[in-house]
Amino acid sequence: MSVIVSQLTKTFGNQKAIDNISFEAKKGEIVGFLGPNGAGKSTTMKIATCYTPPTSGTVTVCGEDILTSPIEVRKKIGYLPEHNPLYLDMYVHEYLKFIGNLHGLKGSMLKNRIALMIGMCGLTQEQNKLIGTLSKGYRQRVGLAQALIHDPEVLILDEPTTGLDPNQLVEIRNLIKEVSQDKTVIFSTHVMQEVQALCDRVIVINQGKIVANDPIKELKAENNKINKVTVEFAKSMAIEKLRAIEYVNKVNQLSETKYALFSDKAHDIRATIFELATKESIPLLGMNLEEESIEQVFQQLTNPEK
């Protein structure tokens, strides 16, 4: 296990930012850290990178404890902080050299790593520009390049994809996927598609507590108890008739001719709807079984009263 978080608690005054959380991440795994704003994602990451100390509990990174050997831990971690702070008055090349130096890289080794990072992060055109003149997407790449410069075993990325355009999103995702093969990647986000596209495992955190820690497929299966079918008829259909269909729990009228029908997961009601339409001789224009998306799962987990 390359990252072991055990019984971590952090309090700010009376407020518990994170409350006794424990999880593990192993090599080659991409772990998505999911949660609403203020759930404690960033705090956990700041603790793991030795920026703020925990109130109790600890984190072990590749066998090194954050409390007893913080310098060793920092050597093994590549960290992209939230909001991606950069020295705007430095040149891209100069900046990567500076960060490389801080990690003890020197000479030709450093040169090779910088060249590799610039190629990998798609910064070839921008390498001699001031960071301040770069657009957000390129700055994000610079941030990612500095996190990777010393070839860390663990990569911790705090919201690496905020503010990127769709093409950049895909590129950054591919990049993360590419580098993750021999590393442990922990990244936080509140973009659900990203989790679906990237992660092997999702940890959902809400109000400082872990509410789910599952491989992504299981997470969906576990929380998916309701089927939703949207149907469109050529003219309006009496809503009572739809309600009368066996296993249908709820019917919502979406527009004059569109309805959403909810049923238990165990039963497929589509055949019955079709039969009803033929019996009433109202042409059926469309019918769609919606799979519950990860967004809905997320909402259920983090906001259970809804």
Partner: protein, 242 residues
Amino acid sequence: MYSIFIKEVNYFLNTLIAYVVISVFLIAIGLLMWVFPETSVLTYGYADMETLFAFGPYVFMFLIPAITMRMFAEESKNGTLELLFTRPLTDWQIIIGKYLSAYFLVIFALIPTLLYYYTIYQLGSPVGNIDTPGVIGSYVGLTLLGGVFTAIGIFSSAITSNQIIAFITSVFMCFMLYAGFTSLSSMNVFGDMAPLIEQLGISYHYNAMSKGLLDSRNLIYFFSVALTMLLFTKLTISSRKW
């Protein structure tokens, strides 16, 4: 530590801060020493460098806080401090790296004034009629004073994320430490304590050194004040962990 030092020195050079600071210092001191009739050596008629050593601390009082005010304040505002704190660096390495880079600039500004010494040495009648030990003592004093001011500047930059507050705090602290204690001690309320209070200030030790006598007590005073300020900086920086 070395990388931080290089980074900060590069910053000074890239942003013209270094050139502005050095030229302002030299122009100000040069005007006072050679042009303004009230303070000019030429009209004064004595071959000494008193003007440089009397006004130097006051010029430093404004220039050094201007150099140091961004050191921690700017980084904490931009969030880049988090970047530094999550690299394999100790807090001391960051502080000392930044301190040395600012101090380096201060010393660099001071070096060209050695030319004044040579000029006055040549202008003296007979040539070389200048109190060389006194000048050496004063230079050591001014260098150490620069070190103390830099430490104060670094400290005030660490306590706030606002550069203007950092600047004003450090100007005030430099002034109080340099001239404040001497002036306080002349108040008629301290009685026997007065000499002790005077000794807390920089100017007492600075003036003692300008006589050409490098007393270890004065040296220890400068080193301990600078060290105390850096220690306070370390405490402030580490307070994020409390």
